[in-house]
Symmetry: C2
Subunit: 417 residues, 2 copies
């Protein structure tokens, strides 16, 4: 508490108070939360963190809230799974899956940012929370608003997956389906934020919201025994997550919490049908050219990513790279992760696995270095993507004879036991 110095423009460095601001009024750069790291040094220790709750709030000193968390008390500390089978399949020595499919309460990493944003919105005395979303954020804002007893307005593209729609409506928000893609939804929401003064978590209180993503990086480092991995592959939509994971690792390093420092290479994974950040990385161009999204990875379907430039910079500065995944690759990636590790990720997880596979094959990720895959959402949310390729092959009557016949006709070996 009291360790937030204020906001700071990412471009010109101009300082601002910790108010509900998000754009620099001089250069129009985005604002970011700034902390008093000198005051934290030596005070925020591994031991202090380990003695904290099993949630993102163990890192509260590095999060921009003033009081106690108001919602999302159980968010975070999802498992970091040592993925030996997947590593073998990828030809790698050391692979980990950071598994936010089991994020509390709404089964994606967006709970991390929303727990912080809604708490901050209440601290700022906002009476309504809202968001523009490709689905996961919608789920999380609606759930945390319910928990906090606040009305919520949630705006999504009208063509969203059923799991994302029902998984929002169940919490009883005002869900507004917009005929258009995310970028159009987002533009509309900026106008609504201006007109009605609601707390749009990813628009007008974005600087606070985005800080929640740092916990993904903190947890990876802590769960690896206070060290940073050689490589992290991060899916990108708006591009914020990759920047914040790197920020989190650098903060830990600056505070002396990491063994071996931070030399992590950050890699971005995007769909071929919506991969403007990866395209820029491949072309070595700082300019992110907006695209019209066309991919089954709808949670990543942001054609004009708000933090695309910063994602590009995080990748380049860290010595990482990026890769695209086709729709077929995405489904294969989902199946590979599930059939090797028993982890059912949404389409974005398939993008991450597929991109990692390519980066390994290209030699961008050496086979003897450690790799963390960011699995950010739950496969039950995007069932449409796999429904056509997962068919029930055996349909029998409830008799031993019917079972034996079905196995025989499919040449299944039943004597393996």
């Amino acid at each position: 508490m009291g360790l937030v110095k204020g906001l700071k423009c990412r471009e010109c460095g101009r300082p601002y108070p910790a108010d509900p601001l998000h754009v620099c009024e001089y250069c129009f750069g985005p604002l970011e939360v700034d902390y008093d790291y000198d005051a934290l040094h030596g005070r925020l220790t591994r031991k202090a963190i380990e003695a904290g709750p099993p949630s993102i709030w163990r890192y509260k000193a590095l999060l921009p809230i003033e009081g106690e968390p108001i919602v999302g008390r159980h968010c975070g500390m999802t498992p970091l799974v040592r993925a030996k089978n997947l590593a073998r399949a990828l030809g790698m020595r050391e692979v980990y899956v950071k598994n936010d499919t089991v994020s509390h309460p709404t089964f994606s990493f967006k709970d991390r940012v929303v727990a912080v944003a809604v708490t901050k919105a209440v601290e700022f005395n906002f009476k309504v929370v809202a968001c523009a979303s490709t689905g996961n954020l919608a789920n999380s804002v609606a759930a945390h608003a319910a928990e906090g007893g606040l009305p919520s307005f949630v705006f999504v593209p009208a063509d969203l997956e059923q799991g994302k729609v029902l998984g929002t409506l169940i919490y009883n928000p005002k869900l507004v389906a917009v005929d258009g893609n995310y970028d159009e939804v987002n533009r509309l929401c900026s106008e609504i934020a201006d007109k009605y003064g609601w707390a749009f978590v990813n628009i007008n209180i974005r600087p606070y919201y985005a800080e929640g993503s740092k916990t993904f990086g903190y947890e990876v480092a802590e769960q690896l025994g206070w060290r940073a991995p050689h490589h992290i592959v991060v899916p990108a939509a708006g591009g914020s997550l990759v920047t914040k994971i790197l920020k989190g690792l650098k903060e830990f390093d600056r505070l002396g919490l990491l063994s071996g420092g931070c030399h992590t290479r950050m890699h971005v994974a995007q769909a071929e049908g919506c991969g403007p950040i990866v395209t820029a990385i491949k072309e070595n161009s700082e300019i992110i050219r907006p695209v019209k999204p066309k991919t089954i990875a709808k949670s990543l379907a942001i054609g004009n990513p708000a933090d695309g430039y910063y994602a590009y910079k995080a990748v380049k500065e860290s010595g990482g790279h990026g890769e695209h995944a086709t729709d077929d690759d995405i489904v294969d990636g989902m199946k590979l992760l599930a059939s090797t590790e028993g982890i059912f990720a949404e389409t974005a997880g398939g993008v991450t696995v597929a991109a990692a596979k390519r980066l390994i094959e290209e030699g961008r990720i050496p086979r003897d270095e450690s790799l963390v895959l960011c699995i950010t959402g739950n496969g039950l949310k995007t069932q449409e993507a796999v429904a056509s390729s997962l068919k029930v092959r055996f349909h029998i009557k409830p008799t031993l004879r019917s079972f034996d016949e079905a196995m025989a006709s499919h040449d299944i070996d039943v004597t393996a036991g």
Copy 2:
């Protein structure tokens, strides 16, 4: 390790070695794992448990595996949520939700039993794992078999929800859809277990499997600060969970781990369309009359529950009761939990909330006593149950004018902020 004394018949008490057995060969009673509690007393302390991993394996001394866990290392320690909004809605002072919607890896409490069962199956040197399932068990067996590198056969009623089917197939098991209800599937599986010698987790290694459910009770007690609540409401299908939660609490009490002892009243929640255990409780009859299931709570649709008699006994001995929930109640219960606490449970969770509501209204659960609701599975698995009652009300063009018109035409107050 070495603390398992062996198996013991629940009826005649005859001891057996810790082998893959499940029925007493003298009286045909079910076998249960027996521990050397005297050896554990004073040795298994709160401190020792708290120093363990953040998973069910912190209670390993009370689980029937010999070596280290082979699969499911990250299972358990799901949040116990203090549900203040739900408590207010129910007119209660102190309500908690034990939230296994975020169980790792397959989003239901079945991960607890399967992590133990598959580890045990490998220890017993079985080469194939299998199960009869109403869905959640199917998901979990397929996932853990994938993690353990074992082939699996999973048998389900053919009319299962899509989320349960896809959420099984993704792990690449042999999924067999059977034309019939669960009780018919289960009978068939007993024959297959006899013929092929596979490890059917809930049939021939059921005594070991079932022990995993104790961890649900252990965690509740530990998370409450080492005390047992006044009341727990547990959904019942086969009836095992309620008996094992009570067993777990009694073990903790016997080992001196609980403050204030164990006086918990266990209550059972079932659907009206498949509630044979609750019917027996209401009628004070030890005889569980099988029924033909007809309910949207398919995960609870077991008409002839294997542990029905023992569930009945656990409820009666503890001074608890039971209640039914109609299909409408179930949907209302799901919505109530989601809109008050931001927790999206599957239909079984709706049964639990609805039954708890009735038990409170009847005075069976006094309003000033503490209550824990067992939320055992994830709402994304049973979307069919709520799809027809959750419609998108606002569908607009991506313009401020279209939004304002939609709000005006629905009399929505947008000036609240």
